[in-house]
Amino acid sequence: MSNRLVSVKHLVKYFPIKKGVFRNTVGWVQAVDDVSFDIYSGETLGLVGESGCGKSTTALTILRLEEPTSGEIIFQGKNLAKISKNQMRKYRKDLQVIFQDPYSSLDPRMKIKNIIAEGLAAHYMLNTKKRYQKVAELLERVGIVPDYMERFPHEFSGGQRQRIGIARALALDPKMIICDEAVSALDVSIRSQIINLFKDLQKEFHLTYLFIAHDLSVIKYISDRVAVMYLGKIVEIAPKDVFFRKTLHPYAQALVSAVPVPNPDYKKKRIILQGDVPSPANPPKGCRFHPRCFKKMDICSNKEPGLKEIEKDHHVACHLY
Amino acid sequence: MVINNQQKILEVKDLKTYFFTENGIVKAVDGVDFEVYQGETLGLVGESGCGKSVTAFSIVKLLDYPGKTVDGQAFFKGEDLLKKSEKEMRKIRGKEISMIFQEPMTSLNPVFTIGFQITEALEVHYKMNKIKARERAIRLLEKVGIPIPGQRINEYSHQLSGGMRQRAMIAMALACDPVLLIADEPTTSLDVTIQAQILELMKSLLKQFNSSLIMITHDLGVIAEIADRIAVMYAGKIVEYTDTRSIFYSPLHPYTFGLLTSIPRLDMEIEKLESIPGAVPDPLHFPEGCKFHPRCTFATEKCRKQEPVLMEVEEKHLVRCWHFEKVKQEARKIAFTGRLTAGE
C-alpha cells in the first residue's frame, strides 16, 4: 500500500447531447463528475456502483479510450490526460483492460494466437517465433491447452474466451489491469474459476487491479479497498474490512443491504430505496443522492458534500459526517 | 413452510422437451417432475442451458420452433395442460397462469400504453367494460408501487425505467388474479437496489393474493430469499429437490454443493473460493452416465456408466446422485454454520 501507481485527480467526463438540424449541444451527460482516487501498487481497488454511475466510463477515460473532459491521470510522473495519442500508445503496455463480454471482445475472424500476440506486434516486441512461444506460455498459464492457439474464438466457451482475454492483457507485461465487469457475463460455476485465476495471476505477476463490478459479493472477495460510485461521483472509499464493517454513506448502506445472500435464515435490516436512479444528464442539485436518501437533511439539497477523510483511509462524501 | 394440507396447484410429470435442430437433437428438458402447492414459491435454480426456462415455457405451451414437448404431463387444476389446444391455453394464460419475463423492454409492447396492456387482459378474460378495467388497472399500478398511476397508465414502456417496467409487468401479470405466476429471471437485468424493491414487492403481493410462484433464476441469493422449496437443475434434469433450508444447510448433490461453495457472499469471510472445474456440457453432446460426472469431485466409475435416478433419500429430500452420502459428509465437515451459511 506504499506507492501510488495511478493517481486520478478531479477527472471529468461529460458526453454532449446533440439535438436539432445543426447538432447543437443542448446538454451534457455528466457521466463522471470530479472523481479523484489513488490506486496503489499491488492492490485491488474495487469500484462498485449500479448502472449509470460512471464506473465503466471512469475506466475507459483513465485508459484514454474515451477522452477526458478535464482532470488529471498521473502515471509514472506523467499526466496521461494531456499527452498526445501517440505518446499514450507507449503507456498502453502498462495499462491493460479486460472487458465484460467474452463474445464480442475477441475478433471472430482471428486465430487466438494472433489475438494474444497482437499487442506484442503493435509494440514491435519480440520476433514472430518468440511471440508465439510467449502465447503458448500464456495460454498454459491461464488454463488453456496451448495447441488450441490455432483455433478461432467461436470454438471456445464463454469462460475460456475470458481466459483468452486475460492472456491477451498479460502479454504486454502490464503494471495494472482494469477488469471492467470481467466476470459478470459468466455462468456462476465459471465465475469463481476466473476470480481465482485473477487472484493467482496477481500474486505471480505483481499486478495491480482496478476491479469494476456491480456485484458487491465479488467485490468483497477480491478487493483490498472499495470505492462506491453514484451518478458520476465517488461517495465512499475505504479498505474492504472497514467498508463492510462500518458502511457510512447512506447509498452504500442501501447497496450493501440490497445484495441477496444465499442464506434463507439471514435476517437483515433491509433498506429499500424509493424511486429510480435519476438521469446523469440531469442530476439533482446539491448531493446527488438526496432525493432518495433516507437520512436527508436540509443542507443536502443545496450543497454538494465533498469527499472527506473521516478516519484513516476512509473517505465519505456526505453531510452527515 | 406449509406443504401439508395445502392444495397441489401444478403437478409436472416426466416432462420432456427436445429441440430438433439441424445439428442434432437437444434434450433441453429430459424427464422433469415437480409440484407446486397453493401459496408457495418453488424455485427453479440452474445456470444457462440447464433447461429451467424451457421447462416453464413448455408448461404454458409457449415453445418456439424447433422445440417440441415430446412427453410428460402438466396437471393444472386436474387437467393436463399439455393436452390442451392453443385456444384453451389462451384462456388460461394471463388469467390463471401468468408469466413475468426477464427483459421487460421486449415483453411489453412498445406501441401500446402500459395501461392498455393491462386493460386488454381484463377485457378479454373478464369481459370488463373499459371504465371498470381502467380503474382496476390504476389500482394495480398503485399496488405495484408505481407513483402517480393515473398519469403513468397512459405512458409507453420506453418512458419508464427498468424497475418501473418490471413493476408494470407484474401488474399485468396480476391483473386477473392468477393462481400461478411463473417468473423467468425477473430481476436479473435490474440493478441490485431495484432488484431488492422488486423482490420485496413480489413477496408482499404473493402473500396478499395467495398466489403460487415458480421463480426461475441462477442467483442463489435471490432464491434463498423468496423460495419455499427448490429444484436444482442441471443438463435438463432435476438433480436435487427439497425445501430451501435443506438445500442451503445440507445439500446432497455435488453440483449444489459446488455452487454453494463457489459463490462469493457478503455474510461471511471467505478464505478461498472453491470452483467447479470444467464447464456446462454442450447440449448436443451430453456425457454418458451421470451428466455431471466430468466435473464432479466425488465421481467414480459407476457415475461414468450409470445415470443415477432421482431418489427420495431423506424425508422430502430428493437427489440424483450415487454418492450423496459423501456430499453430506463433506458438507458437514465444512461446518456449515460457518461456511455454507451463516446463521444470525
Binding site: L60, L63, L65, R89, K90, R92, K93, Q96, V97, F99, Q100, D101, S104, S105, L106, D107, P108, R109, M110, E118, G119, A122, H123, F152, H154, G165, R168, L172 | -
Partner: protein, 311 residues
Amino acid sequence: MNRIIKKLLSNTTSLIGLILLFVFILIAVFAPTIAPPLFPDPYQVPRMSWDVEPQPPGFPMADDMRFIYESLGKPITRDKAIFGTAQGGYDIFYGLIWGTRTAFYIGIVTVTLSMLIGIVLGSIAAYFGGWLDEFLMRITDIFLSIPFLVAAMVLTTILGRGLDKVMIALVFFGWMGYARVIRGSILCAKEDAYVMAARALGVKDFNIITRHLLPNTIFPVLVQASMNIGSMVITAAALSFLGVGAPMGYADWGQMVSFARNWIIGSPGKAGEYWYAVFFPGVFIVLFVLAWNLVGDTMRDILDPRLRGEL
C-alpha cells in the same frame, strides 16, 4: 469456406448462376479458338460484307470481302455469320464472343476500382467520424445527386470516345454505394468490444481498420460488388448504345446492340425483320447479368444468417 461452397452448389438458382458464369468464362478464355481473329487487334470485329443492312444468321461471307481478306493474307477459318451481321456487315457472332472478354474486363475492373475508392473513403469517414465524416459524406451526397447517365455522358464527351473513358466514368460515379455500405457497417462494428480491445493494446488506427474492421465488414460489400458487375456491363452497353463508348467495330456487347439501333423495328410490313441484331446481343447481356445476380443473391443469403451466428 467449405460450407459456403456446399451451400452454393446445393441451391438451384445459384447453381444456374454458377453454370452460366462458368460458360461465360469458358467463352472468354477460348475466344481465340471459337472465333479466330482476322485482324492483329482481336477486338476488331471482321465484316462479312459491305452491306449496311443487317444480314440474317447463316449469311455467308461476301465474295468481295473474301477477296480483300485473302489478298491481305488473312486466313479465313469461318465464312458464315452464324448469328448474322449487324449494321455495316459486322459479324455478330464474333462480336459477342470477344465481347465476353470485354464484358468481364469492364465489369471486374470498374467494380474493383470503384469498390476500392468507396471502401477507403467510407471506412475513413466511419472510423474517424467528426468533421471528416461530415465532409466525406457530403461529397458522397453530391456525387449521388448527379444523375448517372447524364454525368457519364458529359464526362465521355469531355474525355472523348472510347471504352476506357466509359470505364473512368463508371468508376468516377460508381463508388458512392460502396462507401455508404462500408461506412454503415464500420459505424456499427467499431463499437464492438474487440475494436476497443485493439485500441487498448495500442494497435495503430490503420491496422485496426485493415485487420479488424474491414475483414469483419467487407463481405456484404463484396456481395454487392459481384451483383454490380452485371449492372456495370449494362450501363456500359447503354452508353455504347447511345453512341458514347467503344469505337466503331470494337467487340463489345453494347456496340453490337448499338448497331441494331436503326433496325430494331424492322422495315414497314416486316416487323422484327432484323430480330437477330437485337436478340443475340440481348441474350448475352441478360444471361451475363443474371448469372452474377444469382450468384450474388445466394452469397448474400448464405452470409446473412451466418453473420449472425458463428463464423
